[in-house]
Symmetry: C2
Subunit: 388 residues, 2 copies
């Protein structure tokens, strides 16, 4: 058990508030990681990320391996010097991208053979190589390579996949050579309760620095995801940091925090920002700034927000930027959405510390009831495929 890097400072029901220490500094939990797939949070520079309170960012091993190459990042001083982000960095193992982006993938006991989505070049990724690539990138937290099966697989197929993921998890731990880097294990098991239970038990029995819930937010209905969180999260070693991968909306986040999740990443604030969807704190949970009703609005995106967009620009101006195809439009809504998420996470931490999380949870749940902020954000215009 490696709980040394993670300190829990307060609990409120199953929700927790803590601090995780990395060699690039600490981050508070619960926390949200902006997605910097190819080493850049789209349209947002590091100083703006710092200004809005970002503490940790996510980069993607698959993308950086394919271009510019891990050796290349290493030659440029490692991932922190490369991206300009000096704080904690967590990397995806690359598995999820291989399954969703590349063609001709073939999964064997040894690893996964696939073709690059850029040039079709044949590549092979094993659990050992995934750890080694992440060590070479120089990230603070690496993820073990897993197999992430689609939501609609049969029990037998998910069980076979889970067994492979567990063997890969064990091999990942053995492959790790850098003490300064954390390595997180990933649970799978789809929406099958007993497979999730076994996954939790076996991953928690291994010497990982943290545990991530994989295989959710992959197309299953929301209530199924919440049900899995309900029975699965209590099984996850309570003194290690818990990361729910690829989640989610503010509603999903408070739901998961309520079950005891500590860390999140998701493209929603950035991708929806590029599409002109802005999270706000007024009557509506979000607005689409491209809507003509905002053309003459002289108020900021969100009256209470202190981000660059809100302290300097009106909705009418940002509407004009989107209508005119000016790149500043997507930049400003992305910054605002990330600021909104950072504010949400800070308010969650404060609520847990004050023993008031239940009230915050109910408020957010009500607010986002029936809201689908991602609707219509999935065509290719926003470059979402590239952000996987």
């Amino acid at each position: 058990m490696k709980e040394g890097k993670f300190r829990i400072l307060a609990e409120d029901g199953n929700a927790r508030c803590g601090v995780y220490a990395t060699s690039s500094g600490e981050f508070d939990t619960p926390n949200f990681m902006p997605v910097g797939t190819r080493g850049s949070v789209k349209g947002v520079d590091c100083e703006r990320l710092e200004e809005i309170g970002t503490q940790i960012v996510l980069v993607n091993t698959y993308h950086l391996w394919i271009r510019p190459g891990v050796e290349h990042v290493k030659a440029l001083g490692g991932i922190h010097k490369f991206t300009g982000w000096n704080g904690p960095i967590l990397s995806d193992s690359g598995g999820f991208q291989i399954y969703s982006l590349s063609s001709l993938r073939k999964i064997t006991e040894e690893g996964v053979e696939f073709r690059s989505h850029l040039d079709g070049a044949k590549k092979f990724l094993s659990p050992e190589l995934a750890v080694s690539l992440q060590e070479d990138l120089g990230v603070d937290i690496a993820m073990a390579l897993d197999e992430c099966p689609p939501a609609d697989l049969s029990y037998g197929e998910v069980e076979r996949s889970l067994n492979l993921t567990l063997r890969w998890a064990s091999r990942s731990l053995k492959a790790k050579t850098k003490d300064t880097m954390s390595l997180f294990g990933i649970t799978q098991g789809g929406c099958y309760k007993d497979l999730r239970a076994r996954s939790a038990e076996e991953i928690c029995a291994m010497d990982f620095d943290g545990v991530a819930v994989g295989g959710l937010s992959v197309g299953e209905p929301k209530d199924v995801m919440y049900e899995v969180l309900d029975y699965h999260v209590p099984d996850l070693c309570p003194r290690r940091v818990r990361y729910l991968m690829g989640v989610g909306t503010p509603r999903d986040i408070v739901e998961a925090v309520r079950h005891g999740i500590d860390l999140f990443d998701c493209v929603i604030p950035t991708r929806s920002g590029r599409f002109g969807r802005a999270f706000i704190s007024g009557e509506e949970p979000y607005i689409n700034i491209k809507n003509s009703r905002h053309a003459k609005a002289d108020m900021p995106l969100d009256e209470g927000c202190l981000c660059l967009s809100c302290r300097r620009y009106s909705r009418g101006y940002i509407h004009h930027l989107f209508k005119s195809g000016e790149m500043l439009g997507p930049q400003l809504v992305t910054i605002h959405n990330l600021a909104h998420y950072m504010g949400l996470m800070a308010s969650i931490r404060e609520a847990v510390k004050a023993g008031q999380f239940g009230a915050l949870y109910r408020k957010i749940r009500m607010r986002y009831k029936g809201v689908d902020i991602e609707e219509g954000c999935n065509d290719k215009k926003g470059g979402d495929k590239e952000e996987v």
Copy 2:
């Protein structure tokens, strides 16, 4: 003669250093205006513009008139509140854009009839309307509507055009109602010495707050432009601020300052930035960051620069951003190029004050000898047509 708004603080040969006062604050001269065609300097927010020392920006009446509409900008509090830029703002009259972007234009004594490049709608712009639109936008400095003939017209055609521009200049002055707004006249006359002389004499005899040199940088060879500056600028009322429209490279700028020009605007730093051309202060005058030789360079764009790009990111990283199509790449090079221009203008002002302008002029002239930083930046990829 309205020299009250412009104070000359120092002179060195024909070069001058001064201050121009507007109702949104003063700006130092010589100065350079980043181009915010549609109310946004592409990819750069107002706080970054301030940080790098921008004192005045340019917006375009034609574009804002077509979309979102001048009444619309006015309803949103005017151009300063709309764009978020609180300092001085100068607007183009719109004439140049009508001549270069719109179809079916027909120039009469009264004004110019044209079709919008967006939707083909029929529009009519007169000198009076150009002033009124700029007053409604709420800019600090407006430009009189002129006719800007192409570089290759005959003497007779240029003379006819100049006469029209002079009559329009007179009508523009009469149309002005707002004392707080400056109005600048524009000289024309192509590359014909006697027409330039008459243009200067007549425009300077009118009650403009400043005088702009139009009809240069429209396709004529550089040596022709420099020759025109040589005989034309001395004729321009010496105690009013002098603005050379649409110019230019650092080489062009020092050449024009040497002749006594005080103000510039140009898309070169922004457009070339979006194409990956970065001005540097090292051995070369600029680099193309997309070139593979920068892929592994861990130095910043420019060692001596303090801009966001240079204090935070390496050439290798910015190269990666361009290769990956990440919007942060164009953002960073644009910021750097504008910072480079602001640094150039500050060093010009310091040199003039110190009586050392000649040495700076020779240094810049040598540095840019035979350099064409715009080469290859004129296809449609960078959206240059939209920036006219």
